[in-house]
């Protein structure tokens, strides 16, 4: 079972969300994402669901706390 399957089995869903209206589009999250799961344009950003494994590295790297686990998720950081 890979990381993604493990998370999916445990939680049943992908849970990372980025709040695009609060984002500075700096790219820290993209740089640390091991799965190429974040798409960043000039002023647009979104998670590529099929790649995301919920590993949360993007949450830790975000300088301004605009990435988080969404409401359905049970995990919480900070």
């Amino acid at each position: 079972m890979n990381a993604k399957e493990y998370r999916m089995a445990k939680t049943g869903k992908l849970m990372i969300e980025i709040l695009p209206d609060k984002c500075d589009f700096c790219g820290c999250c993209v740089g640390v994402c091991p799965e190429d799961a974040i798409e960043l344009k000039e002023a647009e950003i979104f998670i590529i669901d099929e790649n995301c494994t919920n590993c949360s590295k993007c949450i830790w790297a975000c300088p301004i706390e605009v990435i988080r686990f969404n409401k359905e998720g049970v995990l919480k950081t900070r």
Binding site: C26, G27, C28, V30, W60, A61, P63, I64, R78
Partner: protein, 393 residues
């Protein structure tokens, strides 16, 4: 868009310092070059502390007051207990740049050398034949294009994905990512306009530093970086707010933005079949200081020159020389800086305080960066050798 309807010898993704210098050096070899920038303007937004040594500037562009915000002749390090130690440098040893104009001027130089540049182009894929990179896929004002090229130079920054699409593992360990927040602040009192200030310690910026880099009288680029490990608990922004509140409660904020610096060693692989990586995308940042303008331009210049030569001689296998050239010119020093980073990265506040006290006892005219590191790493003899290698103390 007619610029996107033809094929090129070299396509550069990203118009930061690495990308535009790469484009210039490639174009100077007489090959067709196109630079694609995803943002609307070359030079904006600025995600950078903007400090650079003069030595690193003059190699690539003649200093010009229109993009020099301050000329530096002094460093000041502030310890966690508030004590500080300063170090005098030669006049005009370094600059605080106006990156917005600096990057734009580098773009003009590339353009004057014959490179084409287009902004607002979002590169969203590569044209691949097997493993061979044969161009890029890109979106421009709602329309999708495929633009062929013999070589692609990925200078697409900390958020680089182009290399990944070519099968090169480019993501960075979150502990090595310095997550930054930076402002341009006015109304700052007691700031010498020729001094770079570095604040160290767990209150200011754990596993990083808080900087105040002057950009004129009472105005400065102020910011900090913290590692992803720190980010698990607290964000860069919250540290910056605290520091400003504590040190400059009356500051006005003229610009603010988040950013990221990959403080890591250069990637194991920075070239592939038909592709070179340059700048932050190749992790060509000084891992100790996080400085990336000079090293990015250096990496870009090597990448551009090699790409141009390879096309001109019709021998793309020359691209394989890129990493060796980089290591020879710059990368080998980054190996040493990375070891020094390991030595100072996890220092406790008491250690910073003690180092500051020791440095204060050294006469001012004898204080050097070499001495500083010798003092800081006195208990790690193996690292002293490394200090000697870069600072020749």
């Amino acid at each position: 868009m007619n610029l996107l309807d033809k094929s090129y010898d070299v396509i550069v993704v990203g118009a930061g310092p690495a990308g535009t210098v790469a484009a210039r050096f490639a174009a100077e070899q007489g090959v067709d070059v196109l630079v694609l920038e995803k943002d609307r303007d070359v030079g904006y937004p600025v995600r950078c502390a903007e400090a650079i040594s003069k030595r690193n500037v003059v190699k690539f562009i003649e200093p010009n007051d229109k993009w020099i915000a301050a000329k530096i002749n002094r460093f000041e390090f502030v310890a966690p207990n508030g004590n500080s130690v300063s170090m005098d440098l030669e006049d005009e040893s370094g600059y605080v740049l106006e990156r917005r104009i600096f990057d734009y001027e580098l773009g003009l130089l590339a353009s004057q050398a014959g490179a084409k540049i287009l902004t607002r182009v979002y590169v969203n894929g590569l044209i691949l034949e097997g493993n061979k990179v044969c161009g890029v896929k890109a979106e421009y004002r709602g329309k999708q294009y495929e633009i062929k090229s013999k070589v692609v130079i990925a200078a697409d920054g900390v958020e680089s994905r182009v290399g990944r699409w070519a099968g090169i593992k480019t993501h960075i360990d979150f502990r090595e990512m310095e997550s930054c927040f930076q402002v341009t602040a006015g109304n700052l009192e007691n700031i010498d306009p020729k001094t770079l200030y570095f604040y160290l310690g767990s209150n200011y910026a754990p596993n990083g530093y808080f900087w105040v880099f002057p950009k004129g009288k009472n105005i400065a680029n102020v910011g900090l970086g913290v590692s992803g490990d720190t980010g698990k608990k607290r964000s860069a922004l919250s540290f910056l707010n605290d520091n400003l509140q504590k040190l400059y409660p009356a500051a006005s904020i003229l610009t603010q933005i988040a950013g990221g610096v990959p403080c890591a060693l250069t990637l194991e692989r920075i070239s592939g079949d038909g592709i070179l990586l340059a700048g932050d995308a190749a992790r060509q940042v000084n891992p100790l200081t996080g400085g990336g303008i000079g090293s990015g331009m250096e990496g870009g210049s090597i990448a551009g020159r090699i790409a141009g030569e390879a096309v001109r001689k019709g021998d793309l296998s020359l691209l394989e020389n890129y990493r060796d050239e980089w290591m020879k010119i710059r990368g080998k020093n980054h190996l040493i800086f990375d070891k020094l980073k390991d030595g100072v990265f996890n220092m406790r506040d008491e250690q910073f305080n003690a180092i500051c006290e020791k440095m204060q006892k050294i006469p001012k005219n004898k204080r050097t960066l070499g001495k500083l590191f010798m003092t800081a790493l006195a208990k790690q003899p193996k690292l002293l050798v490394e200090v000697a290698k870069v600072y020749m103390v």
